[in-house]
């Protein structure tokens, strides 16, 4: 290993000195920080430690118990290998056996058989079940992947990713509902993503089974005993209101509610709390999705979607096929945007813009694919998305909009920031030839240079809201200038929303 010498460069993220290439070009401090953060975040509650595989193995001679995969509210899951078929399986150990209780055994068997009848690519399959080693066990399909909770903990979902999960999830739920089975505990921990990116719903109906198990423990008692509350009412935060207030009347619409919570969380990063802010206020998504999410989250089951498949239909009509916002267009229009005969230099910027505008399509610039934008803003609102920093000024004058970027030594140089900008969804990249403004006609707004009634600045590439220094008033009587705070950072994507009454 080469000797480490004093650093010529520093890490752009943490500022620490970077040593020679011992760590493959990555900052060792950031590597360590990232590894530590996740470790601490994922600290497991030190409840009773699950049984080690060696203790379980004797009860399952047909299996080779490999490792403990984790623990949920209702049991511990192990990865195992089914010797006869040489395949991986997941073994879930549930509550302790109620010895000799015929009524319970009967109920358990019926429940488990109903679950086993669920045969769907997006539902984790049940292979076997029964009592063993003092526990009840479930032998299930092993899903080689992670659950959505793990993904949520480590990174955010883009709206596209979140919505891509909805159709297969709805298919799975509808399939089960059609067969009279309600999940009752839909939450990110129960939604698995395998290494091929396929969604699988786990623990279907377990809640009902579990409730049955614990309920039968108290002979003849109709009320749900304490231990079963969790099982019957699902997981706080995800369960529908009626699961708590009226558990007897819980039906498939409870799953619709939980689906709504999960969707809200995937889109916004947070679970809905008391106030219930529409997701489009928190993330850049189509406002029509608000309706879908909010309707799924209706407190009264009668007001929700009555079928999970309705959710899927709504989402699919709002969303274009993910990954290719241009896919709905005829091939010719796509060609105009992505390919030009000859070098770009031959076409002046104006001509390109006109061609784009006549095609009436959304431009895809680099990796910034705009799949989910509000429909072109109402006449009196202009929405600008761009990477900006505290040295940028946005100016609006008459029918022109442009950036001014203050370089050191060249204050007020009208060359403009060289960052990609989207105004009401249309891309605009300032040119260096002086024509760095975009005509108003391209925007649906027709307001003149008067003071806006509201300007909001939202940081899109992280959380939090940055501020504009003050509500801008037109200077020089015909120019509107927006100055941004010093805290606004150049590497982050911001949205500026300007509204005129």
């Amino acid at each position: 290993m080469s000797e480490s010498t004093s650093a010529a460069t520093a890490c752009p993220k943490c500022g620490a000195a970077l040593p020679s290439d011992a760590t493959a070009g990555l900052c060792p401090r950031c590597l360590l920080a990232e590894a530590m953060a996740a470790t601490q975040g994922a600290a497991e509650p030190a409840a009773q430690p699950p049984l080690p595989p060696e203790q379980i193995a004797p009860h399952f001679p047909q299996l080779e118990i490999l490792e403990c995969l984790g623990r949920g509210g209702m049991g511990v899951v192990y990865k195992a290998r089914q010797k006869s078929l040489n395949r991986f399986v997941a073994l879930k150990l549930l509550a302790p056996e109620r010895g000799g209780d015929a009524k319970f055994a009967d109920r358990f068997v019926r429940e488990a058989q109903a679950l086993a009848a669920l045969n769907h690519p997006n539902i984790v399959t049940i292979h076997d079940f029964g009592p063993a080693g003092g526990y009840y066990y479930l032998l299930m399909e092993f899903v080689d992947g992670v659950n959505l909770r793990q993904l949520l903990q480590t990174r955010k979902f883009t709206p596209a990713e979140a919505l891509a999960i909805v159709p297969p999830l709805c298919d799975a739920l509808q399939y089960a509902h059609d067969r009279g089975i309600v999940h009752r505990d839909i939450k990110p921990e129960n939604l698995l993503l395998d290494k091929d990116g396929r969604v699988k719903v786990a623990d279907f109906g377990i809640a009902k089974m579990f409730g049955a198990m614990l309920a039968s423990g108290t002979a003849g008692e109709p009320a749900v005993p304490e231990g079963a509350t969790q099982a019957a009412v699902g997981t706080p935060g995800y369960s529908a209101p009626e699961q708590k207030t009226d558990p007897q009347r819980v039906d498939s619409r409870a799953d619709v509610y939980s689906l709504g919570v999960v969707l809200y969380e995937l889109l916004t990063g947070e679970r809905p709390n008391g106030r219930l802010e529409p997701p489009s206020k928190k993330v850049q998504i189509d406002v029509r999705l608000d309706e879908v999410v909010l309707r799924a989250l209706e407190g009264d089951p009668e007001l929700r979607f009555q079928q999970v498949s309705e959710v899927k239909t709504m989402v699919e009509t709002i969303v274009r096929p993910p990954g290719n916002p241009l896919s709905g267009l005829p091939a010719a229009d796509v060609a105009i945007i992505t390919h030009r005969k000859g070098k770009p230099k031959n076409m002046t910027s104006t001509k390109i813009k006109m061609a784009l505008l006549s095609a009436g399509v959304l431009l895809v610039a680099g990796a910034l694919a705009i799949a989910f934008l509000s429909p072109a803003g109402t006449k009196k609102t202009i929405t600008i998305k761009a990477y900006i920093d505290g040295r940028d000024t946005l100016k609006i004058q008459g029918k022109k909009v442009w950036w001014e970027h203050e370089e050191a030594g060249f204050p007020g140089d009208p060359k403009g920031g060289n960052h990609p900008t989207f105004i009401n969804g249309m891309a605009w990249r300032p040119q260096w030839d002086g024509t760095n403004s975009i005509p108003f006609e391209a925007l649906t707004s027709l307001f003149g240079p008067k003071s806006p009634s509201q300007v909001t600045l939202t940081k899109l590439s992280g959380r939090g809201v940055a501020a504009i220094s003050e509500l801008p008033t037109p200077a020089n009587s015909n120019t509107l200038a927006l100055f941004f705070n010093d805290e606004v950072g150049g590497a982050d994507l911001y949205e500026v929303r300007i509204q005129w009454k």
Partner: protein, 250 residues
């Protein structure tokens, strides 16, 4: 128990002899080894080989002479592995890092005494300051030798873990994926970049998420294993990692 190597499992209490990573037990073996057992010596040799750099750095910062530092480092390790007085001098056995630093300091003070003696006897050696030394001198002004040792230790630990991860990926035929995905080990990257990576690796976006998540998790496991290998008590891994992070602080 199965034959395939598994990383330390979150549900298991730490075990003295884990089936998996050999490094997990190395320092434990050494510190508990009676006198000069062959296993103890072998483990010590492995550890010394792995953590040569921090010692060399410490000596360099002290002597301000890269060549002399290298010579001394070799001599130091030779004496350590020969099981001489050096090996038993340092009392701190909980952490190999502290132990090694103590041992090299002990060694250095002896060496300086010896140097002093030979100076009195004549035959003074002049240390010339060529360009390399000048840079090292200025480094020494910035960082104390102890701090330099710890910092280099931290770098070594991280480098080992990363190299181990890379070896695993190469062995699984996923060298290309490793090279493309490794920036994620330092934190999240932009969504656009993930999309590009997914396309480059011929995976869909969700499959990539899962793969990256696992890579990060495996790196964490390897890093913890590397750190645990230098500790007597694996329960101190978190504290040691925090100390290493602090050492990289400046």
């Amino acid at each position: 128990m199965n034959a395939e190597p598994t990383a330390p499992l979150p549900c298991h209490p730490p075990q003295g002899t884990s089936v998996g990573d050999f490094r997990t037990t190395r320092w434990t073996q050494v510190s508990r080894a009676k006198a000069d057992s062959p296993e103890g010596r072998c483990a010590l040799a492995e550890l010394c080989n792995a953590y040569y750099e921090p010692v060399a750095t410490f000596l360099r910062y002290n002597l301000r002479d890269a060549d002399a530092a290298r010579d001394l480092a070799h001599d130091f390790f030779a004496q350590m592995l020969a099981g001489g007085a050096i090996a038993h001098a340092a009392p701190e056995r909980g952490r190999f890092r502290s132990y090694l630093l103590g041992a090299v300091k002990h060694y250095l003070s002896h060496h300086r005494e010896a140097l002093g003696r030979s100076k009195r006897g004549g035959g003074v050696e002049h240390l010339s300051l060529n360009k390399t030394e000048a840079r090292l001198v200025s480094d020494a002004g910035v960082l104390a030798p102890d701090a330099a040792f710890d910092r280099q230790w931290a770098l070594t630990v991280v480098a080992h873990a990363l190299a181990a991860l890379r070896r695993e990926c190469v062995a699984e035929g996923r060298a290309d994926f490793f090279e493309r995905a490794k920036p994620w080990l330092t934190g999240d990257a932009g969504r656009g970049e993930q999309a590009a990576l997914a396309a480059g690796c011929e995976m869909n976006a969700n499959a990539l998420k899962v793969a990256v998540h696992r890579l990060k998790r495996r790196f964490r496991q390897l890093l913890k294993a590397e750190v645990a290998g230098t500790l007597d008590d694996p329960a101190l891994v978190e504290a040691e990692m925090r100390a290493l992070f602090a050492a990289l602080g400046s």
